[in-house]
């Protein structure tokens, strides 16, 4: 278990690296299995004459593609996510109070000033993204901006700045884009499979000899891959983000020394019935509170991208109760 935020940073950088490595390996493996499955489907004899140079070529192509996607998401993923969310960058004169609060929290965390974005949406929510604190953005919806007082706004921004400082943003960004890619690819594969199995039934029965069993095995394997991958990916994504929210809440209090600000903001977030239009399962884990409100979509345990908001509020209020003895003398 990491102790200081320096450990958290190291942990997140390591996880980000392994995520990219895992993604590349996954894409290579998936490409090989799919190529094999497709080859076996069209030519059942192919299994008997496997060509390793061709396999290596497929693997290299897939690896190159995966590396390209990873590099792109590392450098451009934040613009992509901000674009999908419909966020608009603002300057100091557009909203001096918001801008000042962000700058205050950047100073408290000892970080450079991030870019500030507004999302035109009545649903209250906020998120931070970017590859490191030097290339970070904080986005807040107009709905949340309008309902918070200065203390609560400070709590929310402090929570986001903690994600920035701890390099959560890098891991979350890579998760969002890379897992989005896996889900997209497996969707694509499913459609391809339906299309090919519909179109080639006649030619298959002609050459159906001893290779039939192997064909079946590989097909099943390919199907499993396509089916399991997105589910697995989602579970990893959710497991990673829940514990992170508690940590960011705690670090936010370290910055503001005022647990009640963030607690008040979370209470308002919880009470609001609006749905965030631009959020989906792929980006849900980026936000300060779960943007998906429908119960069937939200679920409880393993499917929830955020811990129950009531529990977060309770923890913050416990901190406020202990605040009298925890005050640092020079906090003011």
């Amino acid at each position: 278990m990491p102790v200081t935020f320096r450990d958290l940073i190291a942990d997140n950088k390591r996880k980000s690296f392994w995520l990219v490595a895992g993604f590349c390996l996954f894409i290579i493996a998936a490409a090989l299995i799919l190529a094999l499955g497709v080859a076996a489907y069209w030519f059942p004899d192919a299994i008997a004459h496997l060509d390793f140079r061709q396999a290596a070529l497929v693997g290299a192509l897939a690896g190159g593609f995966a590396f390209l996607v990873s590099t792109l998401s590392y450098f451009e993923g934040d613009s992509l996510i901000l674009g999908i969310s419909g966020a608009r960058e603002i300057a100091h004169r557009d909203d001096p109070e918001l801008f000042n609060v962000v700058e205050e929290m950047a100073i408290a965390a000892g970080l450079p000033m991030p870019r500030v974005y507004l999302i035109l949406d009545p649903a209250p929510n906020a998120f931070a993204t970017g590859r490191d604190p030097e290339h970070a953005s904080v986005a807040i919806t107009t709905g949340l901006r309008a309902m918070l007082n200065r203390d609560e706004l400070q709590g929310v921004i402090a929570h986001e700045m903690s994600h920035v400082r701890n390099y959560d943003i890098r891991l979350m960004l890579l998760l969002a884009v890379l897992i989005g890619t896996i889900v997209m690819l497996s969707d694509l594969f499913w459609q391809m499979l339906r299309f090919t199995s519909g179109g080639s039934r006649g030619s298959k029965s002609k050459s159906d000899k001893g290779g039939g069993v192997i064909v079946l095995v590989i097909l099943v394997l390919a199907l499993l891959f396509a089916l399991v991958a997105p589910i697995l990916a989602q579970i990893i994504q959710l497991a990673v983000s829940r514990q992170r929210e508690f940590l960011a809440d705690a670090s936010a209090v370290e910055l503001t020394r005022n647990p009640l600000g963030l607690a008040g903001a979370l209470r308002k977030l919880d009470a609001d019935p609006h749905e965030l239009k631009s959020a989906n399962r792929g980006t849900a884990h980026l936000f300060i509170a779960n943007p998906i409100k429908k119960f069937s979509d939200r679920g409880q345990h393993i499917w929830a991208s955020h811990p129950p908001i009531q529990e977060r509020i309770a923890r913050l209020e416990a901190l406020a109760g202990a605040g009298a003895t925890r005050q640092v003398p020079a906090a003011n």
Binding site: P96, I107, A108, P329, A330, A331, N332
Partner: protein, 190 residues
């Protein structure tokens, strides 16, 4: 055993020791630079406040000319703080300045026209934020100092620190009286 084995082992251990020393030394330097940066951040914010005050005074003057006393006190406190030397003296002067600004904003409450003035509202927001920034930059300075001092006092970094003359950094404290009060507080008398 070959005759070169023992010197080779000794040399290897020596090399590792030097590498380790470099690592610890560089770590300490990094932390120390962080404390210096954090300290200069405080000055940046104080400067920002000095720059905002004349604007504020000009704006208030237009609406509340007979609050001359309050305005003059603000200007005086600002000039005093700008000229203050040494950490303790400056901290005291900054405290006085914060107090006079509070009085100024309290006085402004009595002038509805002033309170509705966009320029005044903007300046009020900037000064509020600057007060916060000063507080947060001091808080961050103390956070960084406590990390540096902790590293410096822990074994084995304390040995390296002692060898190269690293000294613990001072925490920022509000003023001598308040620091004394804090020190006094935990005393239990029977």
């Amino acid at each position: 055993m070959e005759p070169w084995v023992i010197p080779a082992i000794l040399g290897g251990v020596g090399l590792l020791l030097v590498l380790w020393l470099i690592g610890v030394y560089n770590g300490l330097v990094t932390r120390r630079v962080e404390t210096q940066n954090a300290w200069s951040q405080i000055d940046v914010q104080l400067k920002r406040r000095y720059d905002l005050i004349p604007n504020l005074v000009e704006t208030v003057k237009g609406y509340a000319s007979h609050e001359k006393d309050t305005l003059e006190k603000v200007i005086q406190a600002r000039n005093l703080a700008m000229g203050a030397k040494g950490v303790a003296e400056q901290a005291a002067a900054e405290n006085v300045l914060t107090g006079t600004l509070k009085t100024l904003f309290a006085v402004a409450e009595a002038y509805p026209d002033l309170k509705a003035n966009q320029n005044f509202l903007a300046l009020q927001e900037e000064l509020t934020s600057t007060e916060n920034r000063i507080g947060f930059s001091r808080q961050h300075y103390n956070d960084v100092v406590s990390q540096y001092n902790t590293t410096l006092m822990q074994f084995p970094a304390n040995v390296v620190g002692g060898m190269f003359g690293f000294r613990p950094a001072d925490f920022f404290q509000l003023d001598a009286a308040e620091a004394a009060a804090v020190r006094q507080a935990p005393q239990v008398k029977f």
